[in-house]
């Protein structure tokens, strides 16, 4: 507790001092010698930092601050406990990459420093849909870094076989295309197992549904809501084009591997899932195309779940200023654009999406960012997604013929139990 208080006081003091210097991008504020001899430790997840980006950011940071950047790549294996325990130590890593849906849980622990001033100075252009996860209880606890979302991956050869030209712009056009494939080819029009839950989450974002609601001061299930039922109905229509099992998710079997066999018209997945297909069947590479999941109308794409990462500063770090210097450099337009281009990820500002030119999957994903969302951004949500995820059970039940209301009622108890677990 003591340490937490000290950290909190430290942050408050920092807010004052930074405010006194005025905002702006902080050019030369600290001077090149201000941080000489210091080392800033940054934890990034395996796969997040492309080589060129890392090299250039390191060079720019060290040139500007005179400090040394120690970028430590973290493995996914056991990462949660590693981060939690690290934040409890007296010498934690200064800057950490944290998954966007996990950010609220960590923000609530008091382990992350508040970054309101940073948002003011460099965050004006951050996509609101991405920044949402970095805010907890009205305060900024992280900076959005990058995101990725689902797109439609389709087999151009099969679409040509069915005589289809161009890609659908609305959901009904998409359904008509799938109908045509069913009629004119022997391929499975769409591969969609019953528990592709992040696609369903996107649909609920599209219908404006909330999966949870507050009741008597605690979060409870809102699956019985009509908007959730409407999203589920859309999912059911999609699923009717697929022979995939209704009680499995997209990873069992890997849908990319199913697609690789070449008898699937399309599937809904992440851009990188194409690599799974290509690995299983290199010949399919030239046939893979991508498009944005079409929405109800042509002017707005379908809602999507935005998976992504934020950068946060540990509250216990003694190098708060230097950490913010790092964030200002790593997140500036040059490097953010470079990350998007090199890594094929969606950048934290919509204004930088032109850097994705040439990367078909990322280009298809980008338009949906503005209207995308996440899972409920409450610390309690994490427990819901532990297998067996009750929302997945709800989906399977509806797909197998239970009414949405009955299905919602049947998983409500389990869902509420998980939401009531203290974190």
């Amino acid at each position: 507790m003591k340490r937490g208080l000290i950290a909190a006081t430290g942050v408050a003091a920092m807010l004052v001092s930074v405010a006194a210097c005025g905002s702006g991008d902080g050019d030369d504020k600290a001077g090149a010698d201000g941080f000489k001899g210091e080392t800033l430790t940054v934890w990034a997840m395996d796969g997040s930092t492309p080589d060129g980006w890392t090299k250039d950011v390191k060079a720019a940071f060290e040139k500007k601050t005179g400090a040394t950047l120690k970028l430590e790549i973290q493995q996914w294996n056991g990462i949660q406990q590693k981060v939690t325990t690290a934040l409890s130590e007296s010498d934690p890593p200064d800057v950490l990459e944290i998954g966007n849906t996990q950010t609220p849980s960590y923000a609530r622990t008091g382990g992350l420093a508040e970054l309101g001033d940073l948002k003011k100075s460099i965050g004006a252009g951050w996509s609101p849909s991405l920044n949402k996860s970095a805010v907890y209880d009205g305060k900024q606890y992280a900076a959005p870094w990058y995101a990725a979302s689902r797109v439609v991956l389709y087999n151009k050869k099969i679409w040509a076989e069915a005589g289809l030209k161009g890609v659908p712009k609305t959901r009904s056009e998409f359904f008509r295309a799938l109908d045509t494939i069913r009629d004119k080819t022997d391929a499975e029009p769409l591969y969609l197992p019953g528990q592709n839950w992040y696609f369903f989450d996107g649909l609920t974002i599209g219908t404006g549904a909330d999966l949870v609601k507050k009741q008597g001061g605690r979060w409870v299930s809102n699956l019985a809501d009509a908007k959730v039922a409407k999203a589920m109905d859309i999912y059911k229509q999609y699923q009717s084009f697929s022979e995939a099992p209704k009680n499995k998710d997209e990873a069992t079997p890997q849908q990319g591997e199913v697609f690789a066999k070449g008898r699937t018209g399309a599937f809904i997945g992440m851009g990188w899932e194409a690599a799974i297909a290509v690995k299983a069947n290199p010949k399919i590479e030239k046939d893979i195309g991508y498009f944005t999941i079409p929405g109800e109308t042509a002017d707005q794409p379908e809602g999507v779940f935005l998976g992504g990462s934020n950068l946060a500063v540990a509250a216990g770090s003694e190098k708060q200023e230097l950490a913010k210097e790092f964030l200002k450099i790593a997140l500036n337009d040059t490097f953010e654009g470079q990350l998007a281009k090199e890594g094929g990820v969606i950048p934290n500002k919509e204004s930088l999406q032109d850097r994705l030119k040439g990367n078909a999957a990322a280009e298809a994903a980008a338009p949906a960012v503005a209207t995308g969302g996440t899972t409920p951004l409450i610390p309690e949500w994490a427990a819901v997604e532990n297998a067996p995820n009750p929302v997945k059970s709800y989906m399977t039940a509806v797909l197998k013929g239970t009414s949405p209301a009955d299905a919602a009622a049947s998983v409500e108890g389990e869902l509420n139990k998980r939401l009531s677990q203290e974190n």
């Binding site: 395996d46 493995q75 294996n77 406990q81 690290a86």
Partner: protein, 276 residues
């Protein structure tokens, strides 16, 4: 007693099948590690690495801090095993040779100590080590690994000591040796195979430990090889060549040690039996 050719054949045939079954996974690990990528993901398995390459081993060794991790792993493992042998030798001598109050209470303590669920005690251990300001050090790791193997070592060495004929020891004492001289000159040499055999268990346990080092030592300079091996599993996903190369490198020291020590331990034993 003459056996028909068939009766002679089946034990040998079974032995060959069993040998194949037990050795194949190990062979397949080395074989995959040596094959070029195109031979690894082949519709029909390539049974022998005809066009062998060291490329995957290169990838594995070039990982950051590799040699530091090798040094750390060796240091921690060897120290933990040496310490536990020393401590266990004293305790097992007392338990095997001396009679005293509470003896079987101690025995049961060690038997129950074998049941400790170390994987789920890591947070308790972490809190103790963190509050003792000993994170990122090889010392706590060594000590905990030592205790992980201590109960087994004590109990096993005890049965080895119990099997050394008391008369040998007593005649040494008649010849003027002190009790401790009798131990070092007579019992200890006879225990050599026992010490080797028990140390194998220690080596393999300490060499493999993952959950504790993961959260105690976050500083790359203080980590050990299991973390390196696990990074290959996730880094490369389906790159089985590099994963198998890393697994091979990780397994080789233990495999060699086993083949070497096991011959001494069981070999000595069987030669004795054959002669008898």
């Amino acid at each position: 007693m003459k056996r028909s050719p068939l009766a002679r054949l089946w034990p040998n045939a079974t032995a060959v099948v069993l040998f194949a079954g037990f050795a194949f996974p190990v062979y397949w690990m080395f074989c995959t590690a040596l094959k070029p990528a195109s031979d690894i993901v082949a519709e029909d398995p390539v049974w022998f690495p005809a066009s062998a390459t060291l490329e995957h081993f290169g990838t594995a060794v070039r990982a950051d801090h590799f040699w530091t991790l090798v040094r750390n792993s060796l240091t921690v493992t060897v120290s933990a095993v040496a310490l536990s042998l020393m401590i266990a030798l004293l305790a097992s001598f007392a338990l095997a040779r001396l009679r005293f109050r509470g003896r079987h209470g101690f025995l049961v303590t060690f038997m129950i100590a074998q049941m400790a669920p170390w994987e789920v005690m890591v947070i308790a251990i972490y809190l103790l080590v963190r509050d003792g300001d000993m994170l990122n050090s090889l010392v706590p790791l060594t000590l905990f690994y030592m205790v992980m193997v201590l109960p087994f070592t004590v109990l096993t060495l005890r049965s080895y000591i119990a099997a050394v004929p008391r008369e040998l020891e007593e005649s040494a004492m008649v010849d003027g040796c002190t009790r401790s001289q009798a131990f070092t000159r007579v019992i200890f040499p006879l225990l050599a195979p026992g010490l080797m055999a028990t140390s194998l268990f220690g080596f393999i346990t300490a060499w493999n430990e993952f959950p504790l080092v993961l959260i105690l030592n976050k500083d790359a300079e203080a980590q050990t090889l299991p973390l390196w091996l696990s990074s290959f599993q996730t880094n490369f996903g389906d790159d089985w060549g590099a994963t198998m190369a890393a697994a091979s490198l990780f397994a080789v020291p233990i495999l060699l040690l086993f083949l070497f020590l096991q011959r001494k331990a069981v070999g000595g034993l069987t030669s004795g039996a054959v002669k008898g």
